[in-house]
Symmetry: D2
Subunit: 341 residues, 4 copies
Amino acid sequence: MQLGFVGLGRMGLNMVRRMQQAGIDCVVFDTNLDARKEAASYGATAAQSIQDLADKLEGPRAVWLMLPTAVVDAVLDQLVPLLSAGDTVIDGGNSHYVEDLRRAGELSKHQIMYVDVGVSGGVWGRERGYCQMIGGPEEAYKRLEPAFAALAPGFEAAPRTEGRSGEPSPAEKGYLYCGPSGAGHFVKMVHNGIEYGLMAAYAEGLNVLKSANAGKQKRTADAETSPLEHPERYQYDFPVGDVVELWRRGSVVGSWLLDLTAIELGRDPSLKDYTGRVSDSGEGRWTAQAAIDEGVPVPVLTAALFGRFTSQGNELYANKVMSAMRHAFGGHHEIKTDNKD
Amino acid sequence: MQLGFVGLGRMGLNMVRRMQQAGIDCVVFDTNLDARKEAASYGATAAQSIQDLADKLEGPRAVWLMLPTAVVDAVLDQLVPLLSAGDTVIDGGNSHYVEDLRRAGELSKHQIMYVDVGVSGGVWGRERGYCQMIGGPEEAYKRLEPAFAALAPGFEAAPRTEGRSGEPSPAEKGYLYCGPSGAGHFVKMVHNGIEYGLMAAYAEGLNVLKSANAGKQKRTADAETSPLEHPERYQYDFPVGDVVELWRRGSVVGSWLLDLTAIELGRDPSLKDYTGRVSDSGEGRWTAQAAIDEGVPVPVLTAALFGRFTSQGNELYANKVMSAMRHAFGGHHEIKTDNKD
Amino acid sequence: MQLGFVGLGRMGLNMVRRMQQAGIDCVVFDTNLDARKEAASYGATAAQSIQDLADKLEGPRAVWLMLPTAVVDAVLDQLVPLLSAGDTVIDGGNSHYVEDLRRAGELSKHQIMYVDVGVSGGVWGRERGYCQMIGGPEEAYKRLEPAFAALAPGFEAAPRTEGRSGEPSPAEKGYLYCGPSGAGHFVKMVHNGIEYGLMAAYAEGLNVLKSANAGKQKRTADAETSPLEHPERYQYDFPVGDVVELWRRGSVVGSWLLDLTAIELGRDPSLKDYTGRVSDSGEGRWTAQAAIDEGVPVPVLTAALFGRFTSQGNELYANKVMSAMRHAFGGHHEIKTDNKD
Amino acid sequence: MQLGFVGLGRMGLNMVRRMQQAGIDCVVFDTNLDARKEAASYGATAAQSIQDLADKLEGPRAVWLMLPTAVVDAVLDQLVPLLSAGDTVIDGGNSHYVEDLRRAGELSKHQIMYVDVGVSGGVWGRERGYCQMIGGPEEAYKRLEPAFAALAPGFEAAPRTEGRSGEPSPAEKGYLYCGPSGAGHFVKMVHNGIEYGLMAAYAEGLNVLKSANAGKQKRTADAETSPLEHPERYQYDFPVGDVVELWRRGSVVGSWLLDLTAIELGRDPSLKDYTGRVSDSGEGRWTAQAAIDEGVPVPVLTAALFGRFTSQGNELYANKVMSAMRHAFGGHHEIKTDNKD
């Protein structure tokens, strides 16, 4: 099987490597020459340009894009005129599924099939394989199944779920056809929405543990500071890193995210090298917006999302408004922010 | 009627003034000599000490405390031995109602009645009167009713509610006997919990208005930054101060808090003199904790409370944990925080 | 001044009445004949059809639509072909501002101006006047200002904000030009988003008061029921209706919504005629979605929104998932729901 | 090693079995005769009463309680008088750590040591082992370590965390000394608080997937129903069970809870046998309350907690208040609740 592949970032390179190892011939392109060279070192064929890539592929072509969402359309503008009826484009990035609906419609005018694939796995995917959520024409999915299977973690990656038997299904190997155009990125979007919620749940809990020595702190006795009625209840200095390590075995909260947290906290439980600014890359927002369209309550997922917005400083004006109100009704003046570390 | 009064801060002085004007003789004490002098200028009798205050009052005595919660017990330790059976102590500060239950029990051993009064009104109370939520023995409430009536805004302070008729009830004058010990501070606690929610609702909405020019900002097109799909929808520069002024007339969101916000935003819509650190003084916390004990969901009130905690910097470790997780699974590095103003 | 007016529902009729009283000649239409008759009884001219309405208006025409959002486009399809260059259409309903942007673009091709007006006031507007948030071409706003002024509550509707002086601004009379197309409905959208938050803040707080007798309830001592450690702290039977009445005078939480709540609770504090299903009509959703686009945290506003979704039953599947998880890891069986009243 | 064990419920029996297999002699008691017989079948010695259990143990005794929180104190009242200085009591149930502080203080008067152990593992613990979080006198912890090790999952239960080396620490075997009295239950409390958050994150996300066919539903076009602007975006019928199975391999959201969810959804993706009433057993509440005492924001954890309260019906009065407000300002009548399934 032959596959075009555009976008050789961190993740793209690892994916090409995994496919080459599984015997899939990748014809690759990226504007970064070093990345092209690295892909070539895995056995891939490096193209000099999008045009060159299209030329090097035999029809019906399949071209997998692994690009930042913001540049997908620009690359499609270049690529589509070089393709022919019956070809397929795969968007494996983190596009909004609404964009998929639009693009699938546009490409179908040229009889080009558009497949959207949500890919989870991060930098660990090279080793663990990539979990793939797939949407688009079922015909295209079928044709591309060897590539999905090559990228996927495989059946052995997890113990079989009680109650399942027979030939493993694609889901049990780590890839799934989720439905028509947009379905793959919709499921990936929700996946990331959930991820935000999981991360925040752990993070909040660990913060409660870390602050369990609150009773040892000095507190001013003025009307602007909430009193701590029972300082004797908050005298603990918990070994947060060890607690996370502990929870990896036998507890209800075990997870891959927890495994990773154990690595990070094992290195430095104070996490002093981080400033606490948490980026968000779109899917959490879209999940919340889709939920709202559907009328489905997602208080946990949005709380996690808003925590990120706040870490980016975007709550500032709201807080100023509240300080102004407090000043107006109570003559309260702001207290200088304490140093936190 | 004669009343002892301890605690001549901002609010205490205004309350004494209002009572003196209504013909209630206050015998006052505060460690601050200037405050005592000011109270005397309103016609109150200034005592030299707690002992002196107790001496100057005829039995059965009633002593109103208007103190920061953190010092109430210390003052009671001094005061109670100077009182006699049949006397009454009123705590008009922001004590936790659980403290009231304890104190009422302790004072009842000395046959001293303990009355808890939640007082709302802030610095405007001198002019508008004070809304009072009262708990404790009904006998004490009855005896003190002239003082409550003197402090209250009075029947004229609001148009009569449709459906009410006859002699105005105490609630319609601005004070209410809410029930046994703790009832006054319980109601005041919830009052403040609601206040946090109202403030945050306005503040969040105004922040959405202020940020409605997001489409004019430049945005980087990397995988760490969520794209804005429709910049053309966020091109507004709203006159936030005028909007708030507008809403004061005829809209569903009109309120006294909005009136105050109009004053502040009228002065400076950018609120540049505020840093956005929002203190909390206990009641919002206690409301949430009581709701949790009751099993009552209060997502709005806690969201408001947590916004304050976050404005105080207490979310930091949680955010570092999330940054660490993102680093661990995706190799993501933190973006330097943008300057916000 | 002459004005076309389509949509004589509850609110439309009251608005026509108010304008007629101010000397604005309304030519009105609604498919409901009775409504047309009622409008005629206020002095308006009833048209037999959209065509008739267009015919009866002198150019340049101005037609105000007061319709459910879902039917605005259908009416525009009928109306626009009957209008001429220089005419104006006003959408006074609760359209999404994004629709305004689209419609303004479409109508501008015909040189018809499109004005979006967010109107607050509900059924009380007839008496109190309507608070109006206006977007669109400033030229159209200027021409229509007499109508806005007639509908608005007027300067006397609220005490002047401290610090304001001179000739009252439009905002101080109850209408405001907020900016280009969509600006009016954007501000109204946020207004309603805030309204949801305010309502939920009060509602949650009153629920905490109502449940303050939790310590009197019997509780089973099994592993599925959370124990109440201090039943003695929850022995209060608060007069919730009186508390709300009380807060109307002198307290920080006074508002028009609270005034209305006092009416309702004065009638029946148990609210037994309500089932607790709370509709939402779009603006709360759009506010949250706009905030998310802007990257602005709105935890309080979304908590309020999600409370409504949940009251509509849309959380059900999520709860089943959690019950299933609890069954899977702990063998927990669901407890039969208690009867609540 | 010999150990007394009181409380042979689901979990207690499995724990005794695991300890017997590891060569720890358990002397057990429960009021349920069948449970005693079952424990005896694992090799444990069944006592006829608490007295008998105390008699059968050689000093210094250690007695492990595995009881519903609500009955621990009653059993301690019976047990403590039968113990001697130097004995140890272990509370392995889900007590509030604040109770531990009190009990440890009381028992220390009798020179009895009190150890609090948070135990995670549920019905799977028999097979997987139990994750144990331990608080109390370090001396007692040391003496009991063989029991903790027998119950724990052991080092092999998870791949070693990158960066760890040398002799496995207790945390790496599945038990951890967390600090002085209360430390074990504090950490377990937060563990469960996190668990609530994780569960809700998954549940909300799956609900968004399940409702992704919203565009296929009929919608009424009235002012009480929020319109769905883009029904074409919500036309998906996702195979939710397969999606969960998929995510078990290679995705960022993999976890033990997800594994269990896959079992349940594999059985019946509609979950029709569940009603959606989600119990809470205390720890989620205490986590939130501790966080509030500490001033630490936990919006995700409380959103999860409040979702449970709402599933129990406790939001009802709040919703009625909002319906009443909507009626009062807009004349809105409640819509009859749709049937959901």
